[in-house]
């Protein structure tokens, strides 16, 4: 078990250390995730119903209101 965990650790450790093109790709992935989750999600993409209402009942009432007006 100890050896297995050690091998898994080394698989990732050596893999990341020896990356060449992979380093550039990881930079792109991290920038992309930052743009998505920090900039877009935090500033632009609020969950409309979650932000506006505190409970599911209020959300249901609002949507029924929208569907029947």
């Amino acid at each position: 078990m100890k050896n297995l965990l050690k091998n898994i650790f080394h698989l990732y450790y050596d893999g990341f250390r020896n990356m060449t093109l992979g380093k550039k790709l990881w930079v792109i992935i991290l920038i992309k995730l930052f743009v998505m989750f920090v900039i877009l999600k935090l500033f632009f993409f609020h969950d409309f119903l979650k932000d506006k209402f505190g409970t599911d009942k209020e959300r249901s009432n609002y949507v029924i209101e929208r569907l029947t007006r």
Binding site: N7, H10, L11, Y12, D14, G15, F16, L21, G22, K24, L25, W26, I28, I29, K32, L33, V35, M36, L40, K41, F44, F45, H46, D47, F48, L49, K50, D56, R59, S60, N61, V63, I64, E65, R66, L67, T68, R69
Partner: protein, 520 residues
Amino acid sequence: MIDNVDLSLVDWSRAQFALTAMYHWLFVPLTLGLSFIVAFMETLYVKTGNPEWKRITKFWMTLFGINFAIGVATGIILEFEFGTNWSNYSWFVGDIFGAPLAIEGIMAFFLESTFIAVMFFGWNKVSPKFHLTSTWLVAIGANLSALWILVANAWMQYPVGMHFNPDSARNEMINFWDVLFSPMAVFKFLHTISSGFTMASIFVVGISAWFLLKKRDILFAKRSIIVAAVFGLISALFTATTGDSSARFVAQKQPMKFAAFEGLYDGSHGASLLAFGVISNQPKASGNYLPDIKIRVEIPNLLSYLAYLDLNAYVPGINNLINGDEKIGLLSAQEKINRGKVARNVLKAYKEAKEQKDLAVADVLRTQFDDPKFQANYFKYFGYGFLNDVNSLVPNVPLTFYSFHIMVILGFYFIIFFVYMLILAFKDNLENKRKFLKLAVWTLPLPYIAEQAGWVLAEVGRQPWVIQDYLPTVAAVSQIEASAVQITFWLFAIVFTALAIAEVSIMIKQIKLGPKEGGE
């Protein structure tokens, strides 16, 4: 309700969703197909022990890695948009959409993320068979991820296995298997992944043809071409078959979409297939959409056969679907709108009775709402109740028509392309056919066009619906500022364009480097 909706908000929300979905779909199909091609190549390496196959596998695996890294998580933005721009829709679909997406997230995370590390880092760390198993699991995991997304999309086109709860305003899943195994979901999944396989095969063939043109890495290029062309031909044939089955189902369940992409205005028994035409929208004051088809090439009776496997079957056209036909039990669009309004009014009365705590009336209305006859005759047309104009039920015919025909023409071209490629490959005559090799390189963008055309057909063709017959697109949007959607539209355009440029430039650089000696 429609009168209260800011149409520019609807248009910008649709444009934003289309932009993000189309960019996302630049990356996904290549991942779906290339993962299998790499798995085939590695299988040959493990079977033969020939290091050339390892070299080949590692080269294509690197390109797979680039595409995967650039494309990964681009689909998450679509989920952001559901919550922000499409909150009515998100609430209305309830757990039917949530469940497949959650399964997809878990599967994608565990299968792809775990085994992709072994795939890239494990060459000298694990046994060849374990490595090969990981490569196959990445391919299967990526394609299973696509399954759940496509199941969710298919449900929007053909909603089954659910019951609408008038208390929560949400659809509740009553039969998971109906949702998972609906013919729409099965055909959509098979058609979509096989088109991804075709795209990846053309990608491999096109790049390998470039190597042959440059007289570089000849053995690598020829072997890559054989694997990809065999896989591509099987996939392209399968794509055509599943597309045919899919269209037959669409003819039954989304007849307006079918009529639009076939350019059929006036239906008939023994309907002709409009194989080629120059078409434009011509709404007429009388209410009929008169076709303005300048050039037409028709094949008699073929449309009836394709739709119902009967040369004389009746296929309704756009005008028939709008005007209805009592003789064959086809309800007019106006009648559907009237029934939809009845369903909406019952829901409204039920809501008001509950608010006024008039439980007796609420009970009666709830019983009426749940009555199977009411469900079949009125709630079935709930979405029509949001519409006032019958003409709003007709999608953009020229766009749908051309998208369909571009997709089909390219699909047949790919079959011929692979057949000829394989003939030349088996005759060992590829290097001498330089014009054809150039054609192979120039074919590379075409599957991208076919893929995008397929989605335009699927999504534009089903308008005005976001959920077929139950919720029109105009009723699905959140009440937010159109300007906010415009800002994020342009933000996405910039981010995704940067990603696409990054992908293409890194890919080109890596392709020029070519496969490394000894596969290291």
